[in-house]
Subunit: 406 residues, 2 copies
């Protein structure tokens, strides 16, 4: 007997039939003797419908009222799933964020969970009742409903699992696990049986949409074992867990890519202290996140070129900021390129393994792919390349690290 | 400056454009210096959609989960209207039943309001903020959402007006007031400028769907002046108020009718004590409300015929109960008729005016309409007639009491 949290995303509860299927899946766990808390998303399309209503009422809506409106999607699913469970003879009750309550800060629309009062729901679990929680939502101050941002139900589920001391948090979604890379690009990509929190975080930050970044952070902090699996099959998924739990660590566990990149180069920047601060301060003030940064000093040592990457969607705003600040910053010319992608090689094994970056550079060079920028972290090496080489690069790297399925 | 409650029904908030129109109407009241609390229904069609979801998940659903699901309709409207008001520069905030809170009993799906904590919302009104309340919903015990039954937003609004000590509760709907009878049957029916609570209650009990019965009861108990008016025009509506406030009382203020009737006659019932109790006890146990009752003793005094009316929808169940109990009750034969209607003449003036019933009987007789059953209350005379005569009877009575517009 274990205490587990099961989370079902929007496609898993898209219609009444699927909700009934979810109920069957939950019943199986209950019948096996588990104590089960369920976290549900809104039925697929529902959140979009509600957001569109808000958008059409007011361009600059009050985020508190937005949360009031949008949180109803999860409320509906929670009630329907509780009904479906009762229909199968399973004792169940729905819980909204404010009923548990799940306390959050007041950053409406992207609130962070501060704490969960689990006294009552924990009691219900002990009594054998299934606790069906509306995901995505919490309770802020002044008794108001908050939401956690897109994908927030993952975070609800993992936070609940942490607070309840659950043995595992199963995230049911429309993919059946985490792969060594995107199977649409590399058909022989392999599903991983386990992956570390750190690697999952790097994947999430690369735009792999399987889990919300925040949920992985919480899982890592509280050592919640998270399983990603499909609600449409019965095959085992991928377990996101502590490194200790993975016996056979691979040096590289995945190749990730992100199309959401753009590159800016400032040419002939005066090579004096404070210049970089000027550039990146102005961008930070505009709430633009800069990623990779490279600075080359010119031959004569008087000027430098600064290259950096940023989210492609922020490019127009960034250009505006930089052009306006040209005099203050002091650069001669600006070049922008949005036909670039970032490719990353991720693996906790590279901490103790030399030559990982070298393998990457060689593999790309053999295919004639030019590297525009490089950045590294403890468990990741990323390069920026021209977008047209993306698929080629991913496939080359997937082979180079021996990730192709047999 | 007055404190008022404005209530907008589903058709008044059916889409974003109408919600914006409602916001303009509220703004007008705010600009005039009023303190305004608004109660809103779900957008037209939304409650039906949510009920259908519940129905398709489970035939015998948990009423508590039903309330969780169905109450979201009003939650969405409250948030959207608060946004729309803010967009017009009006300070506003949405309030759910649990946030105020509006305490109710635990009769989920048809809960009754026990009390409203108005401390906080009253403060907000004093500060000039518009209080936008989700109608139809409240907070039961165990921290659960309750709903008040179909039309419950009227009750929410009137109860809120009572608790806030509001000067008036304006119910915006898709009709522009209360008429002397249904204008679809009598085109020259007149709109009443005022009507008493008692008359309105009799109208509501006859199935006039303009106001939920419970809301009129609360209005009467707490002397809340309720105005029924259209959200699609600017003409004054009908004020539902104390009798004292109506200077020119009419003897009869309206002709109501109900198609929702059926008649059962038990023939040759043994004429001994306890027989009626046996019949109506069995029906009461089956939760069937009996309305008009007539008992005739036969010529020889040994048997009686008992005739009574009941809601047409309950007829099949009633027949089953009575047929099963034939031996215990002791009757020879049973006749049922569902092609009957009830016509009522309503008016507080008849308390002090003789001959009202006589006028009714004469008018019907002149048209050759046979009266099947009669029942009277202090301010109402009702007759049961064959359904085919309904329109004829309503028109004849409308003329007989001088209600036709000039």
């Amino acid at each position: 007997m274990a205490r587990i949290v099961m989370k079902f995303g929007g496609t898993s509860v898209a219609d009444v039939e699927r909700i009934k299927n979810v109920a069957l899946r939950v019943k199986k766990a209950v019948d096996a003797g588990d104590q089960v808390a369920v976290t549900v998303s809104a039925m697929a399309g529902e959140t979009n419908r509600l957001v569109a209503l808000c958008d059409s009422v007011s361009e600059l809506y009050d985020a508190r009222e937005y949360d009031t409106v949008v949180s109803t999607g999860e409320q509906v699913t929670s009630g329907l799933l509780a009904m479906a469970l009762q229909d199968l003879g399973v004792d169940a009750r729905s819980w909204q964020g404010w009923q548990i309550p799940i306390h959050t800060d007041d950053a409406h629309g992207k609130a962070r969970i501060l704490g969960i009062d689990t006294d009552v729901v924990s009691q219900r679990l002990d009594q054998g009742q299934v606790v069906v929680c509306a995901g995505f939502q919490g309770l802020g101050s002044d008794n108001r409903v908050t939401t956690l941002g897109r994908g927030g139900s993952d975070t609800s589920a993992v936070a609940l699992a942490a607070a309840l001391g659950a043995e595992r948090c199963d995230i049911y979604t429309d993919v059946d696990g985490i792969y060594t890379t995107d199977p649409r690009i590399v058909p022989h990509a392999r599903k991983l049986s386990k992956i570390t929190y750190e690697e999952m975080l790097e994947q999430a930050s690369m735009g792999t949409k399987v889990l919300q970044t925040r949920s992985v952070e919480i899982a890592m902090k509280y050592h919640v074992r998270v399983q990603v699996l499909s609600s449409f099959s019965d095959t085992p998924g991928t377990l996101v867990c502590d490194e200790d739990e993975i016996v056979e660590k691979e040096v590289v566990s995945g190749i990730a890519y992100s199309r959401d990149e753009a590159k800016i180069t400032l040419l002939s920047v005066a090579d004096r202290p404070g210049v970089a601060a000027g550039v990146f301060g102005a961008l930070a003030d505009a709430n633009i996140n800069v990623d990779m940064i490279v600075q080359n000093v010119s031959a004569d040592g008087t000027t430098a070129d600064i290259t950096f990457t940023l989210p492609r969607t922020d490019l127009p705003r960034a250009l505006k900021v930089l052009e306006k600040g040209q005099e203050d910053i002091g650069y001669a010319r600006l070049e922008a390129d949005k036909n670039v992608v970032k490719i990353s090689v991720i693996g906790v094994g590279m901490r103790s393994h030399a030559g990982v970056a070298q393998t990457m550079f060689r593999a790309l060079s053999e295919k004639g792919i030019n590297i525009l920028t490089i950045s590294t972290s403890e468990i990741k090496v990323s390069v920026l390349i021209a977008e047209e080489y993306m698929e080629l690069a991913v496939r080359a790297l997937h082979s180079a690290y021996g990730l192709d399925a047999q």
